[in-house]
């Protein structure tokens, strides 16, 4: 195991290196073997339980082998809508094992995973880090055959996507699907212009400009960016950090992926501008591991910027501004997008949210004041510095300046990324993307709201429909309960499990939903769903749990009639118990007739 030792020893003896080491070990062995756990623990002076605790938190790390080729098939609703079930079946048949298992010869492992940010080109999967999109059963057949012959997975991608996806450093079949370019994110941008403009001014002026622009965070919460920077700058500290949140885990969103692919320099300049404004010397891009295929590309852009003195010491002749950016990789955990969990993960631990206060601007990365911003926010800030707050405010609405990227997927003719001014109505967007007979629109992902037709007049803006940009469209032929169930499964899987309401409550909610779906619902069950959901919302510790009942609560509100139809309205109590089902197994084992056609005596 000399090799393994090298993998471990080349890392610093610093606990914050834990995830990096685990990733190297995982990549090398396909899992984290027992011996490695012990050596990693010894190297970092941690207990083995601590190492295992970190390994088992992240979806893409494993203590047991995951196969020489590991398939992670996306299980989001958009994937299901585009034929995931048949694709999954093809994988199982061709590989010869079920999902969750590894083939007997250890060649192929099949696993499900939460949304990988390809909702505009589903069904998609990641195989040994390589992204495959628009899968069909036939393509799967060829893929698995090729894997069995020992062909490297990378070589199975034969057609590249558009733009930088074709570049030597990416070589990915992912398409950008940029359908509408706007002036802010996808407008013209000259390399170095934002940084040069910024360092010619005082940091305070930068903050003032961003404040004046009324830029609100694009990651979902909508916090004023200028204010965040100001808080951070005002904290007394020897060091400050800029963190860019590129975890993009909300199902249905993929716009950050496209920015990272096509506009990485704009993003990095935005980080440098933020760094200059708050007085930071270091920036960190926390990249979800689903987007690791972009890493070399991003590193190359950073290298280029260093060459041009846009990063490094004495940037752009500023005299005293030094700033550089490193990339940290996630390992499969939606909750790591929550800013304090992101910090924990970036520091090499289980990605569990922190208790707040203190907020990251006070005590963030490595316990220093830190601004955490979304990819799109930082890009937008760079443009604001370049073109001024007035330019920015000339777009959008009174309280929501500028443009927003929308990630549009589901039942429409033109899924993809749209840069549009704030203030347009849902119906207007539906018309643009070619969704003629939309029945329901999920805004903001599972944690957002599900709108019915009567709400299509509402506007995308922080004063009305606040959103990180995920828009999933469902036609009238879709089963809404299946959609809601899929969303609940997502939260159940992605809960960090720290606090009771989220860890336990979501499973209970889902159970109730299944009861109703099985035709065993009563009026009481609807009341329970609502009451339990509100409790989970109020009692949970972080944003994940606080929004996790939304799929149920918002459909209960906007699609009430579906629930009413699904239940027995004349009964106050219907048990979930079914004698036929409960006695089936024993009847089978003893070769007796199961008890059929039973009716409740209620």
């Amino acid at each position: 195991m000399a090799q393994e030792k090298d993998i471990i020893l080349r890392h610093p003896k610093d606990p914050s290196a834990l995830l990096d080491i685990i990733r190297d070990v995982q990549d090398h062995f396909g899992h984290v073997p027992e011996e490695a756990v012990a050596r990693v623990a010894a190297h970092l002076k941690l207990s083995e339980a601590e190492v295992r605790g970190a390994v088992t938190f992240y979806h893409f790390f494993s203590l047991t082998p995951r196969g020489a080729s590991t398939v992670y098939l996306n299980d989001s609703i958009t994937s299901r809508m585009k034929g995931r079930t048949a694709v999954a079946k093809a994988f199982e048949e061709e590989a010869g094992c079920r999902f969750g298992e590894v083939t007997a010869d250890g060649l192929i492992g099949l696993f499900s995973t939460s949304c990988i940010g390809m909702s505009d080109q589903e069904p998609s999967a990641i195989i040994n880090g390589v992204v495959f999109t628009r899968l069909t059963p036939l393509k799967v057949k060829h893929l698995v055959k090729a894997i069995k012959t020992g062909k490297p997975v990378r070589d199975m991608v034969t057609a590249w996507g558009d733009g930088a996806n074709q570049s030597d450093l990416v070589r990915s079949m992912v398409s950008n699907n940029i359908r509408k370019k706007g002036p802010v994110i996808f407008g013209p941008f000259e390399s170095g212009s934002a940084i040069k403009n910024a360092v010619a001014r005082k940091p305070e002026d930068i903050i003032a400009e961003v404040k004046k622009s009324k830029l609100l965070g694009r990651g979902g919460a909508g916090f004023p960016t200028g204010l965040k920077w100001e808080f951070c700058r005002k904290e007394k500290s020897d060091m400050r950090y800029v963190l860019c949140n590129a975890d993009e885990g909300e199902p249905g969103t993929f716009k950050d992926r496209v920015i990272l692919t096509e506009m990485p320099q704009l993003l990095f300049e935005g980080m440098a501008v933020a760094g200059y404004a708050i007085g930071a010397r270091e920036g960190l891009l926390y990249l979800r591991s689903e987007y690791a295929y972009l890493r070399n590309h991003l590193e190359a852009v950073l290298e280029g910027m260093r060459r041009e003195n846009l990063l490094g010491n004495n940037i752009a002749g500023s005299g005293d501004f030094s700033f550089d950016i490193t990339i940290a990789l996630g390992a499969g955990a939606y909750v790591c997008g929550e800013e304090s969990a992101l910090l924990e993960s970036a520091e090499g631990r289980r990605g569990e949210p922190r208790n707040r206060p203190p907020f990251p601007v006070q005590t963030g990365y490595r316990n220093r004041p830190t601004t955490v911003n979304n990819v799109e926010t930082l890009c937008t800030a760079a443009k604001i510095i370049l073109h001024g707050a007035a330019w920015f405010q000339s777009m959008g609405t009174a309280r929501s300046s500028g443009t927003k990227l929308f990630s549009v997927s589901g039942d429409c003719e033109r899924p993809g990324v749209y840069e549009l001014e704030f203030g347009l109505t849902v119906q207007e967007l539906l018309d643009i993307v070619g969704a003629k007979d939309a029945y329901a629109v999920q805004v903001g992902g599972p944690s957002g709201t599900c709108l019915s037709r009567q709400d299509f007049r509402r506007r995308f803006a922080f004063e009305d429909l606040s959103t990180g940009g995920s828009v999933m469209i469902f036609g009238p032929w879709r089963n809404m309960f299946e959609i809601v169930a899929n969303f609940m499964d997502f939260f159940i899987e992605e809960s960090c499990g720290w606090c009771t309401p989220c860890r336990v409550g979501n499973t209970l909610l889902k159970g109730k939903l299944e009861k109703i779906m099985a035709g065993r619902g009563s009026a009481q069950d609807l009341r329970d769903l609502e009451a339990w959901g509100k409790n989970i919302r109020a009692l949970s510790r972080c944003g994940l749990g606080q929004t996790s009942p939304n799929p149920i609560l918002s459909t209960l509100q906007n699609f009430r009639e579906l629930y009413e139809e699904a239940i027995d309205r004349h009964k106050e109590f219907v048990p979930d118990f079914d004698l036929g089902e409960a006695s089936l197994e024993a009847a089978r084992l003893t070769h007796r007739q199961p008890i059929m056609g039973e009716t409740s005596h209620e």
């Binding site: 002076k45 207990s47 339980a49 009771t500 860890r503 409790n535 009692l539 979930d576």
Partner: protein, 232 residues
């Protein structure tokens, strides 16, 4: 010194104290479960949730801020707390009649105080193993409520953790370090058992030591020492 009110009662609050600490100092009981004196609060159980200006927060982690108007015993709030206790009961397998901790268990005691006769939620009956591999302690995962008290209180001298959360979501469980746990001293093993609010960490070869009737919560509800007046 600042002032907050809890259910209308004016409470003096020393700077930096949490709402839970301020309440206690002022003779007001806010139920807690994961909280433990001397350990950094983690806010995992959420039983201490209070309402401040319509917003919900955990009293054990929220610092009291001048002028806060805290609701503690509103009937709907108490019912929310009850629902958390019920979740903890259905999440695991709590067979109190067979449990060494019965009568001394804080989860059970809270259920008594809140008069929980049967949970509103269906029992999950999870499949969990009992881990008796360590020489001095047994881990009864069926009863663990993820309070992290053991995680926080039991460490080696050089700061390595012996009890550490493993997995995530509902699969989350407390894992022990096999080597370090075998080096536990009698003292530490006893401390681990005492710090665990439920019957999840048990010292081997002891148990059922105190006769029924004399156990911690046989006679008086949990929290009695803080608010003498139980009005239920």
């Amino acid at each position: 010194m600042s002032e907050i009110t809890i259910d209308g009662k004016v409470c003096k609050a020393r700077a930096g104290l949490t709402i839970a600490e301020v309440a206690k100092a002022n003779g007001i009981y806010i139920p807690t479960l994961c909280n433990y004196r001397g350990l950094k609060p983690v806010g995992s159980c959420r039983v201490c949730t209070v309402r401040v200006g319509g917003r919900y927060m955990a009293a054990c982690t929220q610092i009291a801020v001048e002028g806060m108007v805290v609701e503690n015993t509103a009937p709907d709030l108490e019912d929310m707390r009850r629902s958390i206790l019920e979740m903890l009961f259905v999440e695991g397998n709590h067979m109190c009649p067979t449990c060494e901790k019965s009568g001394n268990c804080e989860l059970q005691a809270l259920a008594y105080r809140y008069q929980i006769m049967a949970p509103r939620f269906p029992f999950q009956f999870p499949v969990r193993q009992v881990d008796a591999s360590a020489p001095k302690i047994v881990l009864e995962h069926n009863r663990c409520i993820q309070c992290q008290r053991c995680v926080r209180s039991i460490q080696t001298e050089d700061g390595r953790r012996i009890f550490v959360p493993q997995n995530r979501s509902r699969r989350r469980k407390i894992g022990v370090d096999p080597r370090l746990v075998s080096e536990l001293t009698d003292e530490m093993a006893l401390k681990a058992m005492d710090v665990c609010p439920v019957g999840s960490i048990l010292r081997k070869e002891v148990g059922f030591a105190v006769p029924i009737g004399q156990r911690k919560f046989d006679k008086k509800p949990i929290g009695t020492e803080i608010d003498e007046e139980i009005t239920r």
